[in-house]
């Protein structure tokens, strides 16, 4: 209702509807429209046209079905927008709230660019987007039901946020409470669906016109793909999808996308960092999410060789080749006089230790570095910190902090280091490098000896599991797409990681249920590049969203999943045991091995049958180490033929 002191207003839905009907004759006819419903007279002019007969009827009657006869659906225009951004796939679970766009994508858009991939759960659809990006460097999009679908997706969105991965999410929603269908669609609508994920997305919006959608979609893509990368969300109003698209008097246009240059560290800070590194006796380079590309790997190698400094790769990406003799374990950080940390997810945890000894609920904090050690940081994440979720970790004071993208900053840093190294330092640096190379070789020997222990054990040791798998894929262009089980990092320690796609890192947020979906998504990306995808798949992880197995089979995504089946939520097995010990109580295991509530046994899950039921080639359970090689060989042949294959391997815990 308007009052005498307020201007008559139309909501957006009425306005669009008026414009749409009037559009059939080529122009809005204010006199005709006004003849239907005359707004109350006021002292100010109407800011919009009053509703016509259709709108008036809609106000009091049932919401009409979307009409295909009143012009081009808004969702067709949305498809035009989407197609400008080279988005290859769209894994999604279907939902009525985005039915307009769904129909346009597959019929108007011919189901290409993007191709709709049928998913049985929103969480793994987002996980697939996550893994795909890490294998290809290109984002893909998903569609979710506004409320319940986005709630399903939320954990995977958080993983993508913590792992700095762009995922384009659009959630269907029906904003108009007076006209949307009652019952289920109203249960599944919200004022602001993006609020569900706002704390862990980089940006979100709710477009209210076709032009607004075009701007926001291109904007979301640009924001998501500018470091620091991150997931983004659009709320997709049902009416906007279904009503005929209108231009409101201005020609519709699709903004052209130009990638932003990644932010770089400040020039002065780069010089200061170079000065500290060049003058250091024992500099250490620590990296976590530096290399987005093979060029990033090359730049990091160049910096390390220039400084003859050890590199600690924390492994959220394959940053530094483990075959390079300057690669070293985290223990070298304790000897450093200068540490440069690049794109670290936890700088405090890099230079401090925390022992979870459980005494009265507090752990012990210990510094890992010597007093006076200078700390340098390059991190794009410093440019984007939110408040609620604590992924920013504990605060660490840094001597030279550069908010910026590390890969983009490396060329300037390398040049600055070249200038800062004085000739009198070169002999010392060469000696330092020689010592690191020697230690690296010894480290490899030690790792091999550790791997040899329990080599013939049953259940199968995690070292044997990993090396048997490697033996069958080593001649292929392989990519380890996920290691969701904790297999003592054997693959990262013993497989030769020489390219950026050899290892794609972990989940980011440690939300369990990432492994299988991200593996399938990465395998999809690798499939198109001719790479062979292998995952070390843990049992607990697989049971969060096993439907992704069906999606992989349905869409012929080749992936070798070698299971690390230790029959428990093993981290929790140890946590409960730890607490029981501190409380001097013998832990209650029921009839299982681990504390009650932590084991996945009795009955043991037959993962091979689970996979078979969803169209995978599968074999198991395998607990005899001698049976592993022939089974993996068989599975590799299946995967090379274009199908997914799973081996259910019963293993040692870790």
């Amino acid at each position: 209702m308007s009052t005498k002191n307020s201007s008559p207003r139309l909501n957006r839905r009425k306005f669009i509807a008026v414009a749409a009907v009037a559009g059939a004759s080529g122009a809005v006819n204010p006199a005709k429209a006004a003849a239907v419903t005359v707004p109350e007279t006021g002292t100010r002019l109407p800011s919009a046209l009053p509703p016509n007969a259709r709108v008036a009827a809609a106000e009091t009657g049932a919401a009409p079905l979307p009409s295909g006869g009143n012009g081009r659906p808004g969702s067709d225009f949305m498809v035009d927008v989407i197609k400008t951004l080279d988005i290859k796939y769209l894994p999604a679970n279907p939902a009525s709230s985005y039915r307009g766009l769904h129909e346009s994508l597959i019929d108007y858009g011919k189901n290409t660019m993007p191709e709709f991939l049928t998913c049985t759960h929103e969480e793994f659809a987002v996980g697939m987007c996550h893994g795909y990006f890490k294998a290809t460097g290109k984002p893909i999009m998903t569609l979710v039901h506004g409320v319940v679908g986005l709630q399903h997706a939320a954990m995977a969105v958080y993983n993508a946020w913590c792992d700095r991965v762009p995922v384009l999410i659009m959630g269907g929603n029906d904003l108009d409470a007076a006209h949307r269908p009652p019952g289920v669609p109203t249960f599944h609508s919200a004022q602001d669906i993006n609020a569900i994920v706002r704390d862990y997305t980089k940006w979100d919006d709710t477009p209210v016109s076709a032009q607004h959608f075009a701007q926001s979609f291109v904007r979301m893509y640009k924001i998501a793909t500018t470091p620091p990368y991150g997931p983004v969300a659009l709320s997709l109003d049902a009416v906007l999808q279904n009503e005929p698209v209108r231009d409101f008097g201005e020609p519709l246009y699709i903004p052209k996308f130009f990638a932003s240059a990644p932010p770089q560290g400040d020039g002065g800070a780069v010089k200061e960092a170079a000065r500290l590194l060049a003058g250091a006796e024992r500099p250490v380079i620590v990296v976590d999410r530096v290399a987005r590309t093979q060029e990033g790997v090359r730049l990091l190698v160049e910096l390390a060789e220039l400084l003859q400094a050890p590199v600690v790769d924390q492994g959220n990406r394959m940053n530094f080749p483990n075959i390079h003799p300057l690669g070293r374990p985290p223990s070298v950080i304790g000897q450093a006089d200068v540490v440069i940390g690049m794109e670290l997810s936890d700088y405090w945890g890099t230079v401090n230790g925390f022992i979870d000894n459980g005494n009265e609920g507090f752990g012990q904090n210990v510094s890992k570095i010597k007093p006076g050690t200078k700390l340098i940081s390059i991190s794009s994440v410093d440019l984007l910190t939110k408040s609620n979720y604590q992924d920013f970790q504990r605060f660490q004071s840094i001597d030279v902090a550069m908010p910026g993208d590390a890969e983009a900053t490396l060329p300037a840093l390398i040049e600055a280091v070249k200038s800062a190294i004085t000739s009198d330092r070169k002999d010392a640096m060469t000696k330092r490098g020689d010592a690191i190379r020697e230690a690296h070789a010894k480290g490899l020997d030690a790792a091999k000896q550790a791997a040899a222990i329990a080599w013939d054990a049953s259940p199968i040791s995690t070292a044997r599991l990993c090396m048997e798998a490697y033996a069958q894929i080593k001649d292929l262009d392989w990519s380890l797409v996920s290691a969701s089980g904790n297999t003592s990092n054997w693959a990262e320690r013993l497989w030769p990681m020489d390219k950026h796609y050899r290892w794609l890192g972990a989940s980011g947020g440690y939300g369990v249920g990432y492994g299988a979906p991200a593996s399938v998504g990465a395998a999809l990306g690798n499939r198109d590049q001719g790479r062979f995808s292998v995952s070390i798949q843990s049992d607990g992880d697989l049971m969060y969203a096993p439907g992704v197995l069906w999606t992989a089979a349905r869409h012929k995504i080749p992936l070798l999943a070698v299971m690390h089946n230790n029959r428990g939520y093993h981290q929790e097995v140890m946590h409960v045991q730890r607490l029981a010990n501190f409380r001097d109580r013998a832990v209650n295991t029921g009839n299982d091995l681990g504390p009650i509530g932590t084991s996945i046994m009795n009955p043991d899950i037959e993962y091979h049958k689970l996979a078979e039921s969803m169209g995978w080639w599968a074999k198991g359970p395998i607990s005899d180490p001698a049976a592993l090689a022939p089974a993996i060989k068989e599975a590799v042949a299946v995967v090379r033929s274009g199908q997914p294959a799973l081996l259910n391997v019963v293993t040692q815990p870790r």
């Binding site: 054990a457 090396m467 904790n486 013993l494 093993h570 001097d584 815990p653």
Partner: protein, 122 residues
């Protein structure tokens, strides 16, 4: 089980290591059961090979610690490993666990495992 068959030699080894009859009643088979019952396997794996993630790479199989040192560590550790005090793990169980760990087979030589020769090689 192999661990039962090696009980006698383990006893001899233990006696030599500890210099006394501390392990006089140690039983590797019972030790294996205790190792599992009390959750040692959770961080150290069933065969005592350990993990870089959960036991900092420490290998328990055929541990070089003397029995007394081993027991002292288990009772008093306040680091990454929680202590096992006598209320939940008896001295006798600890003796048996030690015997089990000593009964585990020697690891193969790396040179006898061709797959390890592929480690980090392209």
């Amino acid at each position: 089980m192999g661990c039962v068959r090696v009980f006698v030699p383990v006893f001899v080894v233990l006696a030599a290591l500890t210099g006394a009859g501390a392990a006089f009643a140690a039983d590797a088979a019972k030790g294996k059961a205790a190792f599992i019952q009390h959750g040692c396997w959770q961080c150290h794996d069933y065969a005592g090979e350990g993990s870089i993630a959960t036991s900092n790479g420490k290998v328990l199989a055929r541990t070089q610690l003397a029995l007394d040192a081993f027991k002292t560590f288990v009772r008093t550790t306040n680091g990454a490993m929680p202590p096992y005090r006598a209320a939940v793990l008896s001295d006798a169980d600890l003796d048996d666990i030690y015997a089990y760990l000593q009964s585990l087979p020697q690891p193969k030589a790396v040179s006898d495992i061709p797959l390890l020769n592929d480690a980090r090689s392209k």
